[in-house]
Symmetry: C2
Subunit: 327 residues, 2 copies
Amino acid sequence: MTTIKDVAKEAGLAVGTVSRVLNNRGYISDQTREKVYKAMEKLNYQPNEVARALSRQKSTLIGVIVPLVNHPYFSNSIDNIERTAIEYGYNIILLNSDGLAEKEYDYLEFCRRNHVAGIIIYYGSLDGSKFSDIGIPIISIERHMQECTANIECDNIGGGRLGAQHLIDQGCSHLLFINGFVDQDDTSGHRRQGFEEACQAAGVSYDIVELVQSDYRVPENLSEIEKIIDSEDIDGVFSSSDMIAARVYRLLKEKGYRVPEEVKLVGFDDSNVAEFMVPGLTSVHQPVDKMAQLAVNYIIDIQNDRVVPKRSILPVSLTVRESTENY
Amino acid sequence: MTTIKDVAKEAGLAVGTVSRVLNNRGYISDQTREKVYKAMEKLNYQPNEVARALSRQKSTLIGVIVPLVNHPYFSNSIDNIERTAIEYGYNIILLNSDGLAEKEYDYLEFCRRNHVAGIIIYYGSLDGSKFSDIGIPIISIERHMQECTANIECDNIGGGRLGAQHLIDQGCSHLLFINGFVDQDDTSGHRRQGFEEACQAAGVSYDIVELVQSDYRVPENLSEIEKIIDSEDIDGVFSSSDMIAARVYRLLKEKGYRVPEEVKLVGFDDSNVAEFMVPGLTSVHQPVDKMAQLAVNYIIDIQNDRVVPKRSILPVSLTVRESTENY
DNA sequence: TGCAACATCTTTAATTGTCGTCATTTTTGA
DNA sequence: TCAAAAATGACGACAATTAAAGATGTTGCA
């Protein structure tokens, strides 16, 4: 590997001069600059980012901790984070926590050891107190934690309202809300809260099922949902995630219900699952791209000693597809 | 940030001694070890991996270049790579190339600048010659490139045969193969080749559509497929990816064909799309987990000067779901 | 012309946090 | 007592950045 030393020797200059050319700092004559470029090209030189990071005392890496990558919502989020990061010359290190506190803690430590510029963290079970003494900015997304440097969420209450209202507007009279994931954060609770508010405001009756899930995998046991659907004459289902909505759609199909004619279905997240489903799944759209951009921007802002909001709540919208449309 | 120096001072030892404790090398008395551990704990010390990487002249980062993260196949692959990597103490840096040669080249250079242990690269359009002089092991997956250190593929020809044979076994008499992505590699060509072989061996007639796609997004224009389905009385469709199969399923539905009764449908990759679809999509299963494991293992092997196979072809299987099953 | 003042450019040397080699000291056992 | 083994220390890489000092060149003014 060629180093800055080799370049300096080749160009007949001192190491410091080459460094200044590389970083565009201080006074450099055009002639010197040219000499350095020539030498760099000739030797096919690329600066060693590891040495740079050590010397500069900061890196251009962002740690991203998700429960699992292989999930439409998270992979979409990661995709957006990566694209934003690269624009600013940053890159991401990806970490699968499985939502486990232990792994999350390990990965937080890993990020610290690697002196990342910042950490973006999604759902997990690690206690908030562990977040405070890391000494690195931590941005949480859809996970409200006081101890994080900044929290980015979407308007989950509004989203809950939006989905419920849409079902009501489409003529549903008895709704079912399925909480796919009960966690210690407010996320799913807020979605449910919005749902309940809308139902109550409209005087529409509803049921709620809380699935016990220890991870993000799709639940196999839907017996409780089945029971309610059979007995209660449900005509609108709102699921707190698209993945679960897809699973519920299968159940409805198997039981012979027609969607949307007999039962209408709404998901949350508006991930690609919603798009691929036939019928397409109406879903509350999270501005995943904006949230990712914001998270990366906050990390860069913090690095540059700019103040960032402690909490940012982004608006949601409803993407209407065939699962709620009467033809 | 506390450094090894602080720990040494706290423990009343020299830096080198602390380093030896950290790395479990050379002679260390239990007493000294204990002192170091105590000091580390007291100061909440974590070794700086950046400095380590610089000093050791090798990192524990693996660069992963995919066309896009937000895709069922790639996110599944990335997930598996991350999990394997972490087992060995490695981590991944994720890079979205959009399949563009220019970005791929940039990212290859990025990996070089960051002195990653190795690179795992998926589909893209960069010319093979650029791969040779990087000086870092490059493992390609589902992309046959002579210039890579190792190539990992699944048995695409066998997979093509498997899917076609299954449709034939299920009673289909006129098949359609949809090549969702024509690239310079052999991947899609091989799938098609296997398909054709099986059809010819069974004396079954078939059509082939090659969709022109510049990226991995789902094609919007399916007019050619529509034309063939309308005119040729197709009763079995084999798509070279699940994503496209999902899109074709929608088309079939819209045109009033029943799946699987009138038209049977097979995809490739066995990604979560296949699982979520209703009816579930029969798909050729790629051993994504094994491929990921192999790739990471190869990088570690190469780092330890062990020889790895130039080309590894892994077996595929068929996951049968409702899209091809007669009830 | 001589010289200070200033601008421009380059070099030197210290720093970043850790590893690893070699040298040195201490302990052990015959 | 003395060599071998065990334990520890000192110091130079590693590949960059960066501040300060030094080396030029240019200009203005007496």
